[in-house]
Symmetry: C2
Subunit: 216 residues, 2 copies
């Protein structure tokens, strides 16, 4: 079971590492980080660099694709190399998945046309540009295409995918192994539960960050 996670400048670390921590524990799984250039890829929110050991073209036919999001996705929405890889890999994949705004890259690659899909709540409506129907849910499954909500949702998506690939018993063992018994300090992790002024504040902050990242 070959699992490819594409990295790029400005990806969100947890988007990639949530599913990685789950899927790398699948029996027989081989996870590969791929990128347009070999080496360190910087994350969106700070100094963390994660290493992509493989070029995209070295891993053309992974069994599973997990596309992370982050502000860096915006610079890739017309990137022929990344979008071409996703589209071609999707043709032969068993599962094509995304976390957060990684779904914008799936959309731009043509994967989501006519499908229900989700994304970070701030980017949900943008999915319409790619012919997808935005759904405000944690994980949205459409055949072999699975999209998930913002950043931390990749853990939930990864566990669901693990159960599809290896069965519930294995997925449960992984969930217990990573002690995933979450206890968020606040009930505000979704715009459905957060107060309106918090949603407005985070929306404004994010628009500022997105603009800054596009000028970087």
């Amino acid at each position: 079971m070959n699992i490819a996670i594409p990295l790029f400048a400005g990806f969100a670390a947890l988007d990639a590492v949530g599913p990685y921590e789950v899927l790398s524990r699948l029996p027989g799984a081989q996870v590969q980080f791929v990128a347009t250039e070999r080496g360190g890829q910087s994350t969106e929110s700070g100094p963390l660099t994660m290493v992509a050991e493989h070029l995209l073209e070295e891993v053309p036919h992974p069994d599973v694709i997990v596309v992370p999001g982050g502000f860096g996705t915006r610079r890739l929405l017309e990137d022929e190399q990344m979008l071409g890889w996703i589209a071609a890999a999707h043709e032969t994949s068993q599962w094509t998945t995304s976390v957060c705004t990684g779904s914008l890259l799936l959309g731009a690659a043509g994967v989501l046309r006519g499908l229900k899909a989700t994304s970070h709540w701030l980017a949900l409506e943008q999915l319409r540009e790619f012919g997808a129907e935005p759904i405000s849910e944690r994980v949205v499954e459409q055949g072999k295409v699975i999209t998930s909500a913002g950043v931390s949702a990749g853990i939930d998506m990864g566990l669901r995918l693990a159960s599809h690939i290896a069965g519930d018993d294995v997925a449960k063992a992984i969930q217990l192994g990573i002690e995933y018994d979450p206890d968020p300090p606040f009930d505000c992790g979704s715009p459905k539960t957060a107060p309106a002024e918090l949603v407005a504040a985070v929306t404004a902050w994010s628009q500022h960050q997105e603009a800054a990242s596009q000028h970087a």
Copy 2:
């Protein structure tokens, strides 16, 4: 606010990245990954490498220390360089924290003597060796020392720490920003809720992995 996260061979990726994704979003936060040698540090469960840009001695007095866990902690329980850094940094830190078996390193550095503390459920009892009182809770706060349970608990710990550092409003904004509204597929993420045979299976698997990692 200078936040140091020590990395080492065999750390668990999510242990470090959960708190990183939260704390790197704090206004004015500067996160630094530190290690005994500059460069890539391999994670316990697969091919992921994360880069430590700084040597331990270059960051002797961080405001916040976040020590991740992973099977690699076992090789460091008598490592004078790492334990000496933790002990000395703790003397001047505002917050000294751990995720998962990172608490074993805090313990071995003498930080937990006489304190209540937690760890990955599989390592909880081992805390007694360091004079700590094991507590089976998601996050345990003892003054400036905060320990958290296995792997994924670092997100919960990070958000609590963010609220201490910058207030509830900022922590809530970060929680909404990373859309932390978890929806685990199974109710088995803790030995308190998992069936006994699952706990036994994961215990056996983990002992095998731990033995393998010690011979690596």
